[in-house]
Amino acid sequence: MTPSVLDEFQELARQSLRASRSDDDSESSMSDVLELALRNPGSRPLLADAFLAVLGVGGRDRIEGAAELVPYCMRTLRWAEVRTQLEAELTTSVSANDWRAVAVLNHALAAFEDTWEDATRYARYREAE
């Protein structure tokens, strides 16, 4: 348990949401979250849980953040445990006709696929893909 990493995650996630709702560049704060995860491999279980909390997966208490934060970071991280939980959540959401959740989860899972349509939207991935 490294509270400082989680605190930093929560702060950067909040910034990503603020940026997405304003005229600021939201990629900058999302990129900071990704760098945090890459710098702290030992905190992977904690951060995996935090990413899922951004989307409220599995009834977790939400961490405020932009929905696109999860696909943006997972495109690089490719954490299987996150993907598995997203897929399970998607199945549940489809069964419940929760189309708001379906849309968000679909976009998050798309980042795990070989070709990612949203890659062109971000400077980090635009040229690489």
Binding site: R21, A67, N97, R100, V102, A103, V104, R121
Partner: protein, 603 residues
């Protein structure tokens, strides 16, 4: 003397046990006969070989009996070679003794091969094997009875076997032997049905007698029927020159017959309303089977003539199934076909492979291509994936216009043109480069339509017509009215001009564009943007500083679809000042198997 002994022994060849007795009885004479045989000059086998075979059989099967020419190895080979093999195996079985046959059938039953073998033959064969069994062998008899003791064979009552319905052909032929009217009817039937009645009658009698299986019967009738339809079609279209057009020649149909058929057709004009469907019921489906009186025969004869008469009246285009029986080049000549031909197609014919046949560009800005696709059900022309098949679109547009509207008249003419071309391609009457030529003509009409209705770049002709003709917009309701509706986080068009990202959007029934955040909470969906009310369009949009990069209809709450929301969404973004909306709309559908929205591809 020795040759005589050889001949005597030959008759005992299938009876190794008796042969063994003869070997003991003949003593040294046996050796003389046994060693004198030479291939091609004597029996082709030696008596000792026959006995050795029987002993081998006993080792393999545990039984030693007179099995005639049967051997398990040969039987296995025969069983693998289909109907003829089954026939050969039956002959082998019948060459042995009753006890030997029973032993073989027991062996086949235990190996699970008996019923497979029996079902390759008509039920009469099972009945023959059954009746040839000695007392006992209940298990084998039950298996054999399962084949012939049923409805459609000899019935379920052993004491009173079902009387088999004879074919019309057989009954009329018997009748023809006794009366002039019968003779006339026989000729009329044969001529009026282009020989099909005779072929069909033979097949039907064979099935009724249990000589062929139901599958063999169905297959043979289908081919006979289709060939007949092809012959009749060509005869009607070419004035009786059917012989030249039918693949491999038409042995049963000559010029005189074809011409006579025309005469028959004329003679039965009064019953033309009987129609081809009735004829089909009598001759192919069998639902009007079992004629029993001379009146019925005459009626059937008239129906036979009605086939000929019917062709000229219901000509529409030679169908795919029948055209395969025609010689190359004859299809176009025989394009005037009847509904019987397409009805007969239902009997079962291999279809053409489905897929794209040809395509032609429609010369408008943004480009569209007019494509012809072969489908199971026929040929479809497709212009725009959002609009679906051209024919359907023309019809739906026409229905929205007043009957006297000149646009409706024009669309109606195009509809006829497209319908005719689809049928001609489907029948093979238009093929190869001719398809490209005909498609190009329709593509030109669509270009003109697009231009006349001030079509925009990337907009298809139909979308242009819908927009400019002021046709009613389609509305889509919230499919889950019980879902909670929240306050969305929205963006004004002005703010969006400087933003990039993926957003939800709806176009309300007042044509107001509302764009908002995508979130998996109440407030983050399309119903939140629309306040739960009906919409004209809904989906997601990807914007990049004032330009529409992608636009779709992925909304699970509203599921908008078709050209109307596509047109309205593009227009709404254009009118709000965004660049590039026209032509960027992609129709998607929810794929439950993959749990995702997928693009609707042009079929």
């Amino acid at each position: 003397m020795i040759e005589e002994a050889e001949l005597q022994l030959q008759s005992w060849r299938g009876r190794p046990l008796d042969m063994a007795f003869l070997r003991a009885a003949l003593g040294s004479y046996w050796m003389l006969i046994d060693t004198l045989d030479k291939p091609g000059t004597g029996m082709g086998w030696t008596p000792s070989q026959s006995i050795a075979g029987a002993e081998e059989q006993a080792e393999q099967t545990g039984w030693l009996a007179d099995v005639g020419n049967y051997s398990r190895a040969r039987a296995d080979d025969d069983m693998l070679s289909g109907e003829q093999g089954a026939q050969d195996l039956f002959n082998l079985l019948m060459s042995g003794s009753d006890e030997g046959r029973a032993a073989i059938l027991t062996d086949m039953l235990r190996r699970g091969e008996l019923l497979k073998f029996l079902h390759r033959l008509g039920f009469a064969y099972s009945k023959a094997l059954h009746d040839a069994l000695p007392t006992g062998y209940g298990e084998i008899k039950n298996a054999l009875q399962s084949v012939w003791r049923r409805e459609g064979a000899l019935g379920t009552d052993l004491e009173h076997p079902e009387e088999q319905t004879r074919s019309l052909n057989a009954m009329v032929e018997d009748w023809a032997e006794d009366s002039v009217l019968g003779k006339i009817t026989d000729v009329v039937l044969d001529v009026g049905t282009f020989g099909f009645n005779e072929t069909y009658g033979d097949l039907r009698d064979s099935r009724a007698q249990g000589l062929i299986t139901d599958e063999e019967y169905d297959d043979a009738v289908a081919h006979a029927a289709l060939k007949t339809a092809a012959v009749a079609t060509v005869a009607m279209a070419s004035g009786g020159m059917a012989d030249k057009a039918v693949r491999g020649g038409a042995a049963s149909v000559g010029l005189a017959r074809s011409l006579t058929a025309g005469a028959v057709g004329g003679a039965v004009g009064g019953v033309a309303d009987v129609g081809t469907a009735d004829a089909y019921d009598v001759y192919v489906s069998g639902t009007k089977d079992g004629f029993s009186s001379p009146e019925d025969y005459v009626k059937a004869a008239l129906l036979g003539g009605a086939i000929g008469a019917g062709f000229s009246g219901v000509a529409e285009g030679l169908s795919r199934g029948t055209s395969k029986y025609l010689a190359r080049g004859a299809t176009a000549e025989a394009a005037e076909a009847g509904e019987l031909a397409s009805t007969l197609d239902g009997v079962g014919v291999a279809k053409r492979p489905v897929g794209k046949i040809a395509e032609q560009p429609v010369d408008i800005e943004g480009g569209h291509r007019l494509k012809a696709f072969q489908r199971e059900s026929g040929v479809d022309l497709i212009l725009c994936s959002e609009c679906g098949p051209v024919l359907d679109k023309l019809r739906s547009l026409s229905q929205k216009l007043p009957p006297e509207d000149p646009l409706r008249v024009r669309l109606g003419e195009m509809e006829k043109q497209v319908d005719a071309l689809q049928k001609q391609i489907d029948s093979g009457a238009v093929a190869g480069e001719a398809v490209d030529g005909e498609l190009a003509k329709i593509a030109q009409d669509l270009e003109q339509l697009h231009g006349e209705h001030h079509g925009k770049a990337g907009e298809c002709a139909f979308c242009a017509v819908e927009r400019s003709a002021g046709l009613p917009d389609e509305t889509f309701s919230n499919k889950f009215p019980d879902h909670e509706v929240g306050v969305p986080f929205t963006f004004s068009p002005q703010r969006l001009m400087t933003k990039s990202g993926r957003f939800n959007y709806v176009v309300t029934t007042e044509r107001r564009l509302i764009v908002g955040e995508i979130a998996n909470e109440v407030g983050g969906g399309h119903i939140d943007l629309a306040g739960g009310h009906d919409v004209l369009a809904a989906g997601e949009v990807v914007l990049e500083r004032g330009e529409v990069m992608r636009l779709d209809n992925s909304s699970g709450h509203y599921e908008p679809h078709g050209p109307s929301p596509a047109r309205i969404a593009e227009e709404a973004f254009e009118q709000a000042g965004f660049r590039g909306a026209t032509g960027r709309y992609v129709e998607k559908r929810w794929d439950p198997a993959r749990n995702k929205w997928i693009r609707v591809e042009t079929p």
